[in-house]
Amino acid sequence: MMHHLPILQVIVPLLAAPLIALLRGREIAWLATFIVTGVTFVISLLLYYQVSESGARLVYDLGGWAAPLGIVYVIDAASALVLPIVTGIGFVVTLAARHLVTAEIDQRDHALFFTAWLLTIAGMLGQVTTGDAFNIFVFLEISSLSAYALVAMGAGRDRRALPAAFNYLILGTVGATFYVIGLGLLYMLTGTLNLDDLAVRLADIEQTRAAYMAMAFIALGLFLKMALFPLHFWLVPAYSFAPSAVAALMAATATKVSVYVLVRLMFGVFGIGFVGISEGLGTVLLTLGIIGAFVGTLAAIIETDLKKLFAQSSIAQLGYMAIGIGIMTPAGLAAAFIHLFNHALMKGALFLAIGVIGAQTGRATMRTIEGAGRQIPMTMTAILFGGLALIGVPLTAGFISKLYLIRALLESDFWVLAGLTFVSSALALAYVWKIVEAAWLKPRPEGAPDLYETPMMWLPAWLLVIATIGFGIFASPLINGAVQAAAVFFGGQS
């Protein structure tokens, strides 16, 4: 059974989805989803354990056809690190979905909703586990299509979810098509689709213009998918009008998986030796990353809707990941992985906590949370801790991210960039403070509806908050994992 874990990781949620579609009761649909996400979480932990224990990469030949003939699943230190994020967040958010979905989604839609929910998760897992470039596209579409529908479900409360979902669909499809174009060029040059085989055969052929363009198109497509500035404009409406549970799931995982796929293709296939990677992509990522960091942070500061605020902040945080990748050193990539991991935890916690408010008031804005600190202390404290982690206060995971990112920058002599990165991340203080001020320092306005919370409502957010603090205090395992993950792309191949 252990030998089948890589495929089970994906097909458990994938095949559970049609079964859940057939369920009728809403309670049972949730329960089944919850159990399935729990199982996938356990599988990912087992995989992580297996990989980190043996240090080897697990290869699973699908259909019994070895690469490059068939499609293979590959679990190495990098994918083993990303899988638990996706499944862990999926598990916790599903726990929260019980009350969030009940509050926001028509109950007759629950079975279908959770089907799409599992499909999104399965699609993301498929992208992470696969070792085949075209298979990435297929699973990308599984996760995207279901995500469009999930975002559109926000229309029950705000009709703007529909155009948001439509634009998301258009840009997502354009991104995927760019990816397919780039992949086509790559395929034409090498005759293979297997990632490892691609890397080997690309190293053999000279660095042609076609290869650069293949890289450019793949990178562009994935920039769109990961919402890198300036291709981020779909993200804010999509996250802010989506139902709270969906926003939490997507904000914490969707863009991260695209970041991972970008790393996997750029470093794993083209490799650091490829001129277009080290000189072209690196500069682009650093530039766009730092601009995105400032643009996102400043936009978040003036935003009054909490979902939009944290969606803007996601743009900034993605900027930091882009910077980490753009440094083009093992340390930089490790920093990007650390931040990818930590940001998933923080944003998951934040969106879940906002969801508690949103489920009661429709929207969580600066006005609706005025004086909320006394009425829903646990929820607001979760937001506070999430915010502190975003700023990068020591003893939260955000600090570790920041520390390693700045270190990677300084080690590569990017002094100015390190300063700018630092300042932009410190600016997060401004929007976190705005929330603190509204929630604790202002009285509850006259006539504002009373907010309430139950342990079931704040527990999921707190699980992630505890994880954020836990990884901020006991950071060594995460750092080691990220360093090993980065080593996959620098030591292992070429």
Binding site: H4, I7, I11, P18, A21, L62, G64
Partner: protein, 163 residues
């Protein structure tokens, strides 16, 4: 359209033919062009034709909603189930060789099964999509008609009150 006898007769002939053709495409995919996907689309086309000619309600009667969702899910499950079966038989996911002692026979059986899964899903999905869209259309039309009717009624009532 539903009242045109010519169309009705043509449809009565055409629909079974299409279904037969779909089956041919489904099972002849090994030797010539075609396979589950194309067969599923053709099969669905037959149903769609049936529904357009004989009306949505009758179409729904032939292929009820519940069955539709079942078909959609079942196709995926057959495909995935084939993979799970090969796993249970000790091989990797989707290694059809495990399905029979003879690898070639195993491959044949496997391909047959998964193509059937694909066909079933595609046919059911296409029908579902059609009913979803067409259902929406007829519903919205109906709704508009009722609204217009209510409006005229209201105006009449208003007129009467004014008198």
């Amino acid at each position: 359209m539903q009242d045109d006898p010519v169309i009705r007769v043509i449809a009565k002939v055409l629909i079974p033919t299409m279904m037969l053709f779909a089956l041919y495409v489904q099972f002849h995919g090994d030797y010539g062009p075609g396979g589950g996907f194309q067969a599923g689309v053709i099969f669905a086309a037959a149903f769609i034709l049936n529904a357009t000619v004989f009306g949505l309600n009758r179409g729904r009667h032939v292929w009820p909603a519940r069955l539709n969702l079942l078909g959609v899910a079942l196709g995926v499950l057959i495909f995935g189930g084939t993979g799970v079966a090969t796993m249970v038989l000790g091989e990797n996911f989707l290694s059809y060789n495990a399905l029979s002692d003879d690898p070639i026979a195993g491959q044949h059986l496997g391909i047959l099964l998964v193509e059937f899964g694909v066909g079933l899903t595609v046919a059911a999905v296409m029908v579902a999509l059609f009913f979803a869209f067409a259902g929406r259309v007829s519903h919205v039309r109906l709704l508009n008609k009722t609204r217009a009717h209510e409006k005229t009624l209201a105006e009449k009532a208003k007129g009467a009150a004014n008198d």
